[in-house]
Symmetry: C2
Subunit: 268 residues, 2 copies
DNA sequence: GAAATAGAAG
DNA sequence: CTTCTATTTC
């Protein structure tokens, strides 16, 4: 049975509802996980999603910043919002559902960006980021027996050399510093997660999901980073049939700086 | 020889360049006077106007607020920017040109709105407005022998009963208080100006050029005011062939709260 | 309600 | 470069 999940840092869901609609109509994923919705819960455009066939909506939003949401064609049987670092930020949303008899846990994350200075002693934002990924070590792909797991979202870290346009030039740039890359890989390992994007795309191939707004011709310079991720429990790796980074969306009208990433599976 | 002038409070010229283009393409006025350009001089979209055939551009802008501009198919032979109330505001721009051998002076005004409280003793903005129209008394339609004159723009005053949706309800609302209406009519009389809009449209007919952004269905409630004006020297009155208040523009995409007003002439 | 400004954040 | 939060102005 085919099944597709999409993740997208949308950078304001209200502003970009037309783009979300385009994604859903073109690709029809079963589940869409959004980050940076920048939308208070009472203003989330539920109607628009329901009209598109996504009748099941879980939101964890706040005013102005951050915010995650997961929408689905199938109903959720559990919804959890975890407050990482106990700071009150809306950065995590966990949902559980059944797809063709298979039970599935989906964690949707928006990891702190971390500011400019990659020194936790002087930059509290970077400290927050490191603390956050430290806490992520406790999120296990095997937490619930009989339930497969996915962890997707904007993790704001590009851990491998081919996850950035220039490993050398980004070594001291937040998102690709050794300390945070190692921290993220530690969380991945501790949680028994498989990096499904890299499971599908060879490690020697560049793979980006984000291009800064600051460079005019993003495609020509191609100074991207892989900040968005799809991780899965071990059992999902063999079921994976496709990874699709929708780079074209970076050129849509008034785009997000992130593009959607889709993972497709054929589950028994 | 036919000749048309348009005046429009555009509420940000950069934001509404597509609407300006639509006006110019649909109506092709010889001269367009804009108010509330909200555009520093070095950021005025000169190229766009030139591409539309308006190669002669006079601007009096400032950062953030106010600002007037006059664009023309014919060249100017004189440009004057007058600093009313010596406060440094960009609220006046006077240009002179020849149309079919006729010499023409065009004053483009953006009169201060005046704040909420119609009492010059407690509201310095209202005082400023009254001082401004007092100073306008010195602007004469007959200042230059052999030169016809026009005075157009957002004068922020609706002087007659039929210039507002409810004379009674607006008597104490800034824009229609007796003190400012009388002040404006005094400036009109002292300058030997003819109210060309009222020359063409009978006084018992309602005539509005502005509808607040605050009312959802501007057309249904029709709570408008005639804040924009076209005045002319006596000799132009018999040449006037049409006055056109483009109310339709209030329903264009992302509109200004003011609509364009056009005056057409057949000049010998 | 819809512009502008500024600063914070990405 | 683009989004938010505010404040101010009309």
């Amino acid at each position: 049975m085919p099944f597709t999940i999409a993740t997208w840092n949308i950078n304001s869901v209200r502003l970009r509802m037309p783009l979300v609609q385009r994604l859903l109509e073109e690709r029809k994923p079963d589940i869409l996980c959004l980050q940076e919705t920048k939308c208070p819960n009472d203003q989330f455009p539920e109607k628009a999603f329901k009209a598109l066939g996504y009748e099941h909506i879980a939101i964890h939003g706040q005013k102005g910043y951050h915010g995650v949401a997961t929408v689905s064609k199938q109903p959720f049987d559990d919804i959890v919002r975890q407050d990482f670092c106990q700071i009150g930020d809306a950065r995590h949303l966990s949902t559980r559902l059944s797809i063709g008899g298979r039970r599935l846990r989906v964690h949707n994350f928006y990891v702190p960006a971390g500011g400019d200075e990659p020194n936790p002693e002087v930059n509290v934002k970077f400290k927050h980021k490191l603390d956050f990924i430290e806490e992520m070590r406790l999120i296990s792909a095997e937490a619930e027996p009989g339930v497969s797991s996915l962890l997707v979202g904007d993790l704001n870290i590009a851990p491998f050399e081919t996850d950035v346009w220039s490993h050398k030039q980004l070594l001291k740039v937040v998102s690709h510093t050794p300390i945070e890359c190692e921290g993220l890989l530690r969380a991945q390992a501790d949680g028994r997660w498989t990096d499904l994007m890299r499971h599908h795309v060879p490690m020697d191939e560049q793979l980006f999901t984000w291009w800064s707004y600051r460079s005019k011709d993003w495609a020509a310079s191609n100074r991207g980073r892989r900040l968005d991720h799809i991780w899965g429990s071990q059992d999902l790796a063999p079921a994976l049939t496709a990874i699709d980074v929708m780079s074209a969306a970076r050129s849509w009208e008034r785009p997000s700086d992130h593009v959607p990433v889709l993972a497709s599976f054929d589950i028994a």
